[in-house]
């Protein structure tokens, strides 16, 4: 028992929580429970006192009721966001009203607990804030730049291995499990999977050769009539994974850019049939890395939109595809822990960092002379929207490059239908109808209508302003 208490004390070391509620018994019971869990607690009965505590004490999280006399919980949170933008804030209420929930989230509440709630519900939120995010950050920081990862599912063929393969057993420690020229039997792969191993690793130099081989094979595979469409799609997905891994790990160099170009050229010729659209969604949603799947998705849907919008120039199609594939390359400079957060969970600083990714992407690609300026504009402007409410420059429609307007439609669509931290996991048709009914003003109507046409959906012009 003593060990358990010691463990709790270690875990919650220095975590100081401010509890704000005008109902004395509830406040006292909640505070006592948190103290028994090893937290340091300050409890106050109203918002005015809470402001003082936030201002002068080192508090790690605030748990506040919404409805209180004087300064209410939402006003207190607004104050807290101004003075300490990163301070996690949980709002509690007996109403659990949709309007209040929405307002609370928009203002940056990281948790929302309808009363009554159990200890475990609160502790799981605190645990995620204080410990799991720290663990994730540590994991990202520990990533070794000498090894590149590949999804374990890529090894299910059981064929001869062309390069040495490793498993990662701890921070910067890898164990070779298969030598070049050996077979890697399916039983061994299954055994690793049963141990929850998701990735196998190659040394960086081998990985470059492996990427080169796949890129060389891709145009051949994609045009070969004897290979099924499913196999072609899988090969395209696999090759684009490898290239995105290379670009994100090693930065964009001429070799990486040339490889991306090959993927783009192959994907634009491979995915031409309307029924391919649904298959593509399914394929992308089985992807182990949502960021790479998203880039491939945006690239291919951008091409489909361009074709439906009757853009016939191969040069334009190529630029749109390339812009789609590389539009998020600036995210390689953003910590993965932030990219894995929902936008509503981000602090003001994290939002600022996140919104810098278009500029970072343009800076990265701008160093390669062969990248067309149109592609740079796509990367820079893919988060701008026609109403002038996007980022980073808040440009309005006429100031946004047409290709960026097109890619932004594909980008939003993929955000809604593909897996990811902000995904709504909608079907294609639901996503398009939602974009049309609630966000039509954000997008260039030509491209939203063209996206709908890809899925044989007809949109009325009335929602576009």
């Amino acid at each position: 028992m003593q060990e358990e208490i010691k463990k709790k004390e270690d875990k919650t070391e220095k975590k100081h929580i401010l509890v704000v509620d005008d109902e004395e018994i509830f406040r006292g019971a909640l505070s006592q429970m948190l103290i028994l869990e090893g937290f340091q607690v300050t409890q106050v009965a109203h918002g005015k006192l809470a402001k003082n505590v936030i201002g002068v004490q080192d508090v790690h999280a605030v748990i506040s009721d919404i409805n209180m006399p004087g300064i209410n919980g939402i006003e207190l949170m607004q104050f807290s966001k101004k003075t300490k933008p990163d301070l996690p804030f949980i709002l509690m209420t007996g109403f659990a009203d949709l309007k209040e929930t929405k307002e609370a989230y928009e203002l940056g509440a990281r948790g929302f607990l309808p009363k009554p709630f159990k200890k475990e519900e609160l502790l799981s939120i605190l645990d995620e804030w204080f410990y799991q995010k720290e663990d994730k950050k540590k994991e990202e920081e520990n990533q070794d730049i000498n090894y590149c990862k590949l999804s374990i599912d890529d090894f299910i063929s059981g064929h001869e291995i062309k390069h040495d393969i490793y498993v990662r057993i701890s921070e910067k420690k890898y164990v070779k499990i298969a030598h070049q020229g050996e077979d890697l039997p399916l039983e061994r792969i299954s055994s690793y999977k049963s141990k929850k191993i998701q990735y196998l690793y190659m040394q960086k130099e081998d990985f470059r050769k492996y990427m080169g081989l796949n890129v060389t094979l891709l145009p051949i595979v994609s045009t070969k009539n004897t290979i099924s469409k499913e196999k072609k799609r899988n090969f395209l997905k696999h090759t684009s994974d490898i290239i995105m891994e290379h670009l994100h790990l090693n930065g964009v160099d001429s070799e990486g850019f040339q490889s991306a170009k090959t993927v783009v050229e192959s994907s634009t010729s491979l995915l031409t049939e309307p029924d391919e659209m649904m298959n593509l969604l399914t394929m992308l949603n089985t992807h182990s890395d949502h960021l790479y799947a998203h880039c491939l998705g945006v690239s291919t849907y951008a091409v489909m939109i361009a074709r439906k919008a009757e853009w016939h120039s191969p040069a334009s199609i190529y630029k749109v595809a390339m812009g789609g594939l590389l539009h998020d390359i600036g995210k390689k400079e953003i910590p993965r822990a932030i990219l894995n957060m929902k936008r509503i969970e981000m602090s003001a600083e994290e939002v600022h960092l996140y919104e810098s990714h278009p500029q970072r992407g343009m800076d990265i690609l701008g160093q390669i002379p062969t990248v067309p300026s149109d592609v740079l504009q796509i990367v820079m402007q893919h988060h701008e929207n026609c109403q002038g409410l996007g980022f980073p420059k808040r440009l309005t429609k006429n100031y946004i490059h047409p290709m960026a307007r097109l890619v932004s439609v594909a980008n939003e669509f993929c955000n809604m239908v593909l897996k990811g931290p902000n995904s709504l996991n909608l079907s294609a048709s639901d996503a398009i109808l939602r974009m049309h009914s609630t966000q039509a003003g954000k997008f260039d109507s030509t491209f939203l209508i063209a996206l709908a046409a890809v899925f044989k959906i007809s949109l009325s012009e009335s929602n576009f302003r």
Partner: protein, 80 residues
């Protein structure tokens, strides 16, 4: 009972039920840590906790229905 009155009722019982859950949770933890606790007492206390949990779930379920029906909270503020 009018829907808005029902929402006010649900609001009014939320904190007392929540307080009771917290307090009983601590009481149960305390009882379990004692070496000579009567099993009957422990069982009965656990039953009270389970009943409170049932009330909590009933509140959540009813509130969900009311939210889906779209009863605005402003009405409750006006009434209270």
């Amino acid at each position: 009972m009018k829907e808005t009155q029902e929402r006010k009722f649900l609001h009014d019982i939320a904190s007392p039920v929540g307080s009771a859950i917290f307090i009983l949770d601590m009481v149960l933890d305390n009882m379990k840590s004692r070496p000579n606790i009567s099993q009957d007492e422990l069982t009965q206390t656990q039953q009270v906790y389970d009943l409170l949990e049932q009330i909590k779930n009933a509140i959540e379920a009813r509130r969900k229905v009311l939210i889906q029906q779209g009863v605005p909270s402003s009405k409750i503020h006006e009434e209270s």
